[in-house]
Amino acid sequence: MNARDWALITFTILVQMSVGSMWVLGVAHFLAARKYGNEEADRLSDRALFALVPVIALAFIASLLHLGNPFNAYRAVTNLGSSWLSREIFFGVIFAVLAFVFAFLQWRKIGPLLLRNVIAGLAALVGLVLVFSMSNVYMLQAEPAWNSWATPVSFFATTFLLGALAMGAAFAANYAYLQSKKADCADAQCTLMREALRWIAVAAVVLVGVELVVLPIYLASVAGGSAAGLASVKLMAGSLGWMLALRVILAIVGAGVFAIFLYQNAMSAGHEKMLGNLAYAAFVIVLVAEVLGRVLFYASHVRIGI
């Protein structure tokens, strides 16, 4: 692993987490607004939205670090006709701009609600195209370990898993902040946070289930596909096997065990402190698991040929 690989790991993980977060925020806000009105829904999700702005900015700064000549970076969108990498950067920039504009309008409460919702919805949809493009970047014929249906499936799983748990931690932090300010909205916000965390816990368990089902099928299909694919699997199961094992264990602990605790503690009021700690821990553990997974992704590919 060199600095260049870390730039790509940082970029892909943070972008996927941001896209997933936009979706989780959108769904949470929509459901909260239906039940408690727009103002309470804003109170639930606004600070989490603002936290996304530096995350997206950091992702794009990291992406520049992997270029030999970053001064030419603007050229990265000049081959949209045939390069998925061009498309990835193109949709990445659109996603970032829409997310920033939405966060700014939401911060200043500028413009009609409908307009803000449309911008947020567009950002979330462009985010899906972005993750799809990102998957296609790696689906090169000369790279059998990447050229698999498992690449988009696992990228989308990472997107929604990290998005859900990042926003779970953000909702918990937001609630702790509101309480420390002794805001008069505590009751409604307490219910909203608990309900959001319950659904986030369910999503986490389902998504880690997807990852665990995909992994063995993926390994078997790549190993049987070509000599280079077999060499990749030998790396993943051999010298990098400890990383694969750690990645799986951490995913199960964070998105499985902790998520179940999270679900139980969110059933009734009175465990908010515990709930917050569980949400933070689940996010951090799964973030480490997903980063390890991505390290493995870049460390284990073996190209066909010479």
């Binding site: 270029l67 030419n72 050229r75 390069s83 990498l85 061009s86 090169l140 040929g305 010479i306």
Partner: protein
């Protein structure tokens, strides 16, 4: 393609002397680690234990000299996000160093390892087919340096008519990924691409 320059390589007569590799390195004054033309030693086989004596059985070895194949389907050009790689009318594939952003994406896409990153200029470089010499009607440096006369340059279709249509032997990748502009006369022990029983035996080179 009506007009496509191509390399011909005669694996049956290559002795692995690497004069081609060094001529290329010298002409372009390539820095440490970059070899636009490379010579691979490929071999395998086993020894048999018969009547208390170890006897060589099917042991084999041959050399493959390879550079950029200036492919009919240049994946490097297709995937380059900066549109820095182009294919000339005569089929030569070139990287424009002023347009390259140094993302190294072409390095992942090319199964021949042709695009290589220059740590000094921070952009990708690769075999230019000595376009400067060819434009003057001269041969590429590697072709003229070959002591065994096993490298040739010519029109792809003409080379195929002369030498046949083989474009891949081990350790080269299968030809259907990029459709290389390459014609090979195989060594008598050459193994089909992707089905080899041997491995690359060349030692790592600090050049």
């Amino acid at each position: 393609m009506a007009n496509q320059k191509a390399f011909y390589f005669d694996a049956s007569s290559c002795i692995g002397c690497k004069a081609c590799q060094n001529a290329c390195k010298d002409k372009y004054d390539l820095p440490l680690g970059i070899r636009w033309r490379r010579v691979f030693e490929y071999g395998g086989g086993n020894w048999l234990f018969m009547d208390g004596v170890e006897t060589p059985n099917n042991v084999f070895k041959y050399y493959v000299s390879t550079a950029c194949q200036h492919c009919a389907n240049p994946v490097c050009r297709d995937v380059c996000p900066a549109a820095a790689i182009t294919k000339r009318a005569d089929g030569i594939v070139l990287i424009d160093p002023d347009k390259c952003i140094g993302c190294r994406y072409c390095q992942w896409a090319c199964p021949y390892g042709a695009p290589q990153f220059n740590e000094e200029t921070k952009v990708m470089t690769k075999c230019t087919f000595c376009a400067d010499l060819q434009d003057q009607g001269l041969n590429p440096a590697c072709v003229d340096a070959c002591v065994m006369r096993c490298l040739e340059v010519g029109d792809y279709e003409e080379l195929r008519q002369k030498y046949g249509s083989l474009a891949a032997i081990e350790p080269l990748p299968t030809a259907n990924i990029t459709k290389p502009s390459l014609v090979i006369t195989p060594h008598k022990h050459a193994q089909p691409s992707g089905q080899g029983t041997g491995s690359i035996l060349s030692l790592s080179e600090e050049v």
